[in-house]
Amino acid sequence: MRKGSGRGDEERRRARRRRRAAARRRSPVLSALTSSALALPGLAGGARAASPVDRVGADYNFSYYAEDDLPSGKLAAGDDSRYEIEMHQFHAVAPLGERSDANLDIVHETMSGATPWYVANSGSGTPIQVMTGATVDEKRTDALLTGSYYFERAKASASGGFSLENDYFSGNGGLSGDLDLNDKNTTLSAGGSLSFDTIEPTDAALFATRPTKEKKETYSAFAGISQVIRRNIAVQSTFSYQHGTGYLSDPYKQVEVAGNANNPDRRPGQRNQFAWLTRYRHHVSPVEGTLHANYQLYLDDWGITSHTLELAWHQTLFDAFRLVPAFRYYSQSQADFYAPFFSAPAQHMSSDYRLSPYGAISWKLRAEVELQDWPGKLDWRGSFTWERYLSGGEYALQSVSLENPGLVSFNLFTIALTGRF
């Protein structure tokens, strides 16, 4: 039965028709705005399932990563010059018809320097670090191909790739999907992936603790929800789970037990990891700035709990420039089987600083410039980023009585160029 047959109802129906007609007239302008924004990288992953790219794009980043030398007071033996990495990243994206696109990511990096080998007891109970000698020019190449198909309110993606080093090979594949609901104000995301890895440590014959060949399998899944709160506010929360099985130890590290360092790093053969990441985005129109806030809670069955907080402010200047200062705070507890050194052997033992209790802070500053429609329909973006990372027991949320001497600090410099053609 049709409701409302009076004059007031007819006026309200006319008003609704006028608003819909005005919206259709505005849409072409809005389409131009959104399509020009879509032309620039980074929009994929916004608060909705997005749409395929309509033109070819390419990105190149060069990064220089340099760890601080180990302080002399913490060095027992070995080379104090730590890792340096030169990293090249390539990315290309292209449309495949009206409803799909493909992404190719390639990373090639060259690594050199010394790494922590084992931690020794100085004699007074103070842990000191024994480093390896410096390695020279180790290389890693990583490639990942992703194809996506877009429905009216959903997206499905499949990916496959590999990572290759002189002593390590990993093959991986994954599937993921997005679903838009509530007039595209809500997006559900989920996916899974797996990875099969093989490690054949170098110089295994020279070290009794080093295996000649081992395998590892990793299975991951995630589920998340994005919600538009206001015209200028969006929130996303994602739950991730990863199960690892096989050889999960570090073949290049050893453990000192009762003064004897000839013991292998020996970790459990399984690991279950959980991460809950929440992201908040808030644009402040009067100052043309956007706040990014991320928080992650992490737990695993090795005993590690960690907290990560990241804050960034994206300040747009004169439409074409952007300055992004950012800060990151990280704190983790230790693994159950971690100790700098041991007085008696245990089933599982590691002195790896990455399993020790500590905290870390980092500052990052990124400056970028955008150039649109030059020449012709080309759009460009160039940026320079510097990040400074410091770690130490003093930054941890909990009190740390014995800081691992191998904790790392580093600088990371990146220049980047992006084009849309």
């Binding site: 929009l43 990373v107 080093e165 890895d197 490690i199 590892k216 998340g224 809950w276 992650q296």
Partner: protein, 79 residues
Amino acid sequence: MRARPGRRGALAAALLGALLLGAAAGCAPVRPWERDLLARPDMAWEPDSLEARRRGHVFFSKEGSLQGGSAGGGGCGCN
């Protein structure tokens, strides 16, 4: 006694549900013609996917946690 991972995970999931209910309660539906600000590059979850991959790889190599947000990509000898 420290809670086991399963119990800690259940608590995290309950907090997540409360957060999402709270966020949904404060929502005002945004119409398609009002999405100009949401379409800005700096409103994306990851404005620069290469930077996100790079930093995720660095922290995965140098720290003891998972980098959340999405699954995908393979392993390396870096950790």
